[in-house]
């Protein structure tokens, strides 16, 4: 394609967007809204994955014992855990240590624990268990749980490790993501139809020009191009607005949560890392939606 032809298509497409006024505005907004929701879900997923990685890498099993487990029993359980081949080390965490730890995690909010002292400490005794290989953590946790089978008192109340938390987290976020996907899909289809309606109006407004173009021998491709440009540009504008808004908002979220999350030893996906995938998907998808919208109308209404 000649450069002058190409610039003509761009010019004509842009002109139509301006001429269609409110209709273009509706198309652009609807693309922007659907992509915004998509972007929010993408950011959420990125961060959940990162969170999961962080949790999993803290490959430690926490064993909680029933309250009032006698000391001999505690020592015997500790010995049994040490005998498990996957286990690297076992550290006893008394309920006093647990209370101190909780105070530390809560930081400034630790005052909610005021009043709970040594005598009425509600927390159980327990162990922190490290394994040799993070991958073996599940096996080791099962073996620790199995110790209860030979223990008439069933002294082990709970065995927790990262993966379990992660699994639960994934169950919840998968649910949210599926609902989000349905919403995004519905909105994307709406956006596509709005764009195709907008293009149809352009085709109608330009029917005389199109008739003359056909008569003097313009190729079908030449006649169709400005409509594709119009659709693609509508999508592009909508998605650029969305991408800019999303990333600006996300930068703000990172800034305002850095302190709180930092205290919990977590951090969010940095902006530079989110920019590529989120920006790319939003802009790419927006443009595609626009092009598909125009194809719909061009195939149906532009008889060339």
């Amino acid at each position: 394609m000649r450069f002058s032809t190409f610039s003509r298509h761009i010019r004509e497409g842009t002109k139509s967007i301006i001429r269609n006024g409110w209709m273009s505005f509706a198309s652009i907004s609807s693309i922007a809204v659907s992509l915004f929701i998509l972007g929010v879900f993408m950011l959420l997923t990125l961060n959940v994955n990162r969170f999961a990685d962080q949790v999993e890498s803290q490959a430690q099993i926490r064993v909680f014992l029933e309250l009032d487990t006698p000391e001999e029993k505690i020592a015997s359980i500790e010995r049994q855990i040490k005998l498990i081949p996957e286990v690297k080390s076992v550290v006893f965490v008394s309920k006093h240590d647990a209370l101190d730890r909780l105070r530390e995690t809560l930081g400034e909010n630790a005052d909610v624990l005021d009043g709970y002292e040594a005598e009425n400490n509600p927390l159980p005794d327990g162990f922190d268990v490290d394994v040799f290989e993070p991958r073996q953590i599940g096996v080791a946790a099962e073996k620790i749980k199995a110790l209860n089978d030979t223990d008439p008192d069933k002294s082990i109340m709970r065995v927790r490790y990262g993966e379990e938390t992660v699994k639960q987290l994934f169950r919840i976020t998968n649910g949210i993501r599926n609902i989000g996907l349905v919403i995004v899909l519905g909105l994307a289809v709406t956006a596509m139809f709005l764009i195709s309606t907008s293009i149809r109006m352009t085709i109608y407004a330009r029917r005389r020009e199109i008739a003359i173009m056909k008569l003097v021998g313009a190729t079908n491709g030449f006649i169709r191009w400005p409509f594709f440009v119009e659709g693609a540009l509508t999508g592009l504008i909508g998605s650029l607005i969305t991408a800019a808004g999303l990333l600006a908002g996300y930068a703000q979220v990172i800034r305002s949560t850095r302190l709180d999350l930092g205290l919990m030893m977590f951090d969010l996906v940095p902006l530079e890392e989110a920019l590529g995938p989120v920006g790319g998907v939003v802009v790419g998808l927006g443009t595609l939606i626009g092009i598909f919208g125009s194809i719909l109308s061009v195939r149906k209404y532009l008889r060339v």
């Binding site: 020009e209 008569l215 021998g217 313009a218």
Partner: protein, 228 residues
């Protein structure tokens, strides 16, 4: 140049527009197509630039076999044919110059040629001084001349004119006819459908008369031949 061989055209509603039409029009001929309204003149014209396809028979135009022409090749056929209508069909928001240049732009003519040939075409039809006027600022005759400039600007081998003087007064009609004759002298084949008996009788060109879809007369230097 244009050859119809056993051409039939039946429209989907059952109307038989043309029956077994055989015509040979040579390069550089000037041909009038006459006949009552609804006789099939317009169908005949539309078949030439493949706005319609024949139900039966073969048509060739300037080396294109229309029966075998793939839809995506139609534009290249049309670049050989300039079409003129009774109602001018100019784009109202474009100036005379832009209307003519439009026909070159959309067939992707290099920009430096567009200006030169558009001005040449406007000069030929005598409207160089009104290049920047909008169609609404031009008289009917002037608008038709812009349409003619648009039809010839891509140097077509054939001009197909469907009642080009139908909306014009006799004097203006004559100006248009002189222009078409001039274009014909320069080597372009012209096929013109008309109801204008004065013009046909005065110009003494080949006349093909169509009635009820059948060619009933084909005379060199013929007359209109119908009562008015």
């Amino acid at each position: 140049m244009i050859e119809f061989h056993g051409v039939w055209k039946t429209y989907p509603d059952g109307t038989v527009a043309l029956q077994s039409v055989n015509v040979l029009i040579e390069r550089n001929e000037f041909v009038f197509i006459v006949g009552p309204s609804g006789a099939g003149k317009s169908t005949f014209m539309k078949l030439i630039y493949r706005e319609e396809v024949p139900t039966k028979g073969q048509i060739s135009v300037n080396g294109f076999n229309l029966g075998k022409l793939k839809p995506r090749k139609i534009p290249y056929l049309r670049r050989n044919i300039g079409v003129i209508f009774q109602d001018f069909r100019l784009l109202p928001k474009l100036t005379a110059y832009e209307n003519v240049a439009f026909a070159m732009e959309v067939v992707e003519t290099p920009r430096r040629l567009i200006k030169k040939r558009t001005l040449e075409a406007l000069e030929l039809v005598g409207l160089k001084n009104k290049a920047n006027s909008l169609p609404s600022q031009l008289s009917g005759g002037e608008q038709q001349r812009v349409a003619i400039a648009r039809a010839i600007v891509n140097n077509p081998a054939v001009i197909v004119a469907d009642e080009p003087t139908g909306n014009l007064d006799p004097e203006t009609s004559w100006e248009i006819m002189k222009l078409l004759e001039e274009i014909n002298y320069r080597g372009t084949t012209i096929v013109m459908a008309t109801h204008n008996s004065a013009i046909v009788n005065a110009m003494r060109k080949r006349v093909i008369a169509i009635e009820k879809g059948i060619i009933v007369r084909d005379e060199p230097r013929g007359e209109y031949g119908y009562e008015i």
